[in-house]
Structures are given as structure tokens and as C-alpha cells.
Amino acid sequence: MNVTNYIKLEFPSKSVNEGYARSAIAAFAAQLDPTLEELGDIRTAVSEAVTNAIVHAYPDDIGTIWLKARILEGDKLEIVVKDKGRGIADLKQAMEPLFTTGGEDRSGMGFTIMESFTDHLKVRSAPGKGTTVTMVRRIRRRRG
């Protein structure tokens, strides 16, 4: 698999960094010349993954979140959001629409939106060790 470009960022799990993560991924993705809709989808999916890490991985303290992105052959953007937080005990349940342990501040739609707005979503998690969310979105080449 040919990787033509990549970024690796890390930041503390402070909610103010949600906007930073969205801006960073949008700036990196811009080289693929995405449409506004594609860019909106990418920003939304990253916002959901980073918010999950802030709310669920480190509920009582501030931990580190890693945001990595790679441009792969075929105009594919791969995004990885990783934490070393609490982990998810029941992944199947966590990915069900409307399921949340985040109280009434959360809708339980995060994974559903990540799934809808990307072409591929993979979540790996181990209780006490952390969670890694990998998403791939293909950017359609525009003609003319």
C-alpha cells in the first residue's frame, strides 16, 4: 500500500481541542481536492471520534489523543483516532444507534455518524488499554 503523505498529531483530551482536530484534518484533506460535502463528512466523522475519546476514554482526567491521517493510493484518506483510556467493554452494544453511557449530553449517534460518513470504519478496543478508531474515506476525483 503506497502512502503518499501523512500527519501524526497528539493533543490532550480537552474539549476545546475538538475544533482543532476538525481544522487539522480539513487542512490535510484539502490536498485531495474534496467537495464541500466530502470535507464536511470528514470533519464530522473526526469530531465524533475525538469527542468519544474525550468523553468516554478519559471521563475523569485528561489523557492523550493521537490523530493520524494518511493519504493512500486511489485518493483514499485514512484517519486513525487513538487513545489509551478506559476502553470499551462491549463494542457491539457501544456501536448500536442511540446507545450511550454519556448521559443526556450525548445522543448515542457518534458511531452511526462515523459509519455513515466514511466508506470504512474499524474499531478496536480493550478495557483498560484504550481504543483505536480507523476510518477510510475515498475522495472522488472531479473531472474537468
Binding site: 469527542t51 455518524i113 460518513f117
Partner: protein, 107 residues
């Protein structure tokens, strides 16, 4: 995130400006809840025309606003979402609970 309101003859219109994410949601919800408690509107319109971004935090906010409106025997709906916001609203299925006045499709 900025919020403004207009109240006229039982209708409270709340204008949201900026990016509605988890970071902004709690403060925004408190402001909206205070406005609704003060005006006890028959109708609450959430005007998303100035919203440049929203994620699923906005869906949780809409569910809460809907609960408050129901307790106050009022109605609530959303107006003027841009395309990104509309895609999140559509993916969540929130329209079954909070109607969206269709004038979307703007960038």
C-alpha cells in the same frame, strides 16, 4: 458559538452562530433552556442559518429542547440548516421528533 433570540407573539426564535460540538453544547443548552423558561413559548424555532458545523452533540441538544417544549406544551422545529448540518440531522433520524423546515441545501 453565539446565540441570539427574538420573541414575538408566543414564538421564540433562537439563532445559533458558529460550530455546535460537544465543547459548545453544554453552554448552548443552558442558554436555550433559560430562554425557554423565561418566555414559556408556544412555538420555539431553532434557526440554524448561522451554524457552520454541527455533530451529534447537536442531536442530543435537540432531544433536550424537544423535552422542554413538550413539558411546556409547546412545539419546536429547526430552520435553515446548511448542507453539513442537514446530513447529520438526516443520519440521526431526529426529524421524527423535531421537524426540519425544508430550505436546506445551502453551503
Amino acid at each position: 458559538m453565539k446565540i441570539a433570540k427574538q420573541y414575538d407573539d408566543g414564538r421564540l426564535t433562537i439563532y445559533l452562530y458558529g460550530e455546535l460540538d460537544h465543547h459548545a453544547a453544554r453552554g448552548t443548552m443552558k442558554a436555550i433552556s433559560d430562554m425557554m423558561d423565561m418566555e414559556l413559548p408556544k412555538e420555539t424555532v431553532l434557526d440554524f442559518g448561522g451554524l457552520t458545523f454541527m455533530d451529534s452533540s447537536g442531536i442530543a441538544l435537540l432531544l433536550k429542547v424537544s423535552r422542554i417544549a413538550k413539558a411546556q406544551m409547546g412545539r419546536v422545529w429547526v430552520e435553515h440548516p446548511n448542507r453539513q448540518v442537514m446530513r447529520v440531522l438526516a443520519a440521526s433520524g431526529i426529524e421524527r421528533i423535531v421537524p426540519i423546515a425544508q430550505e436546506s441545501g445551502k453551503e
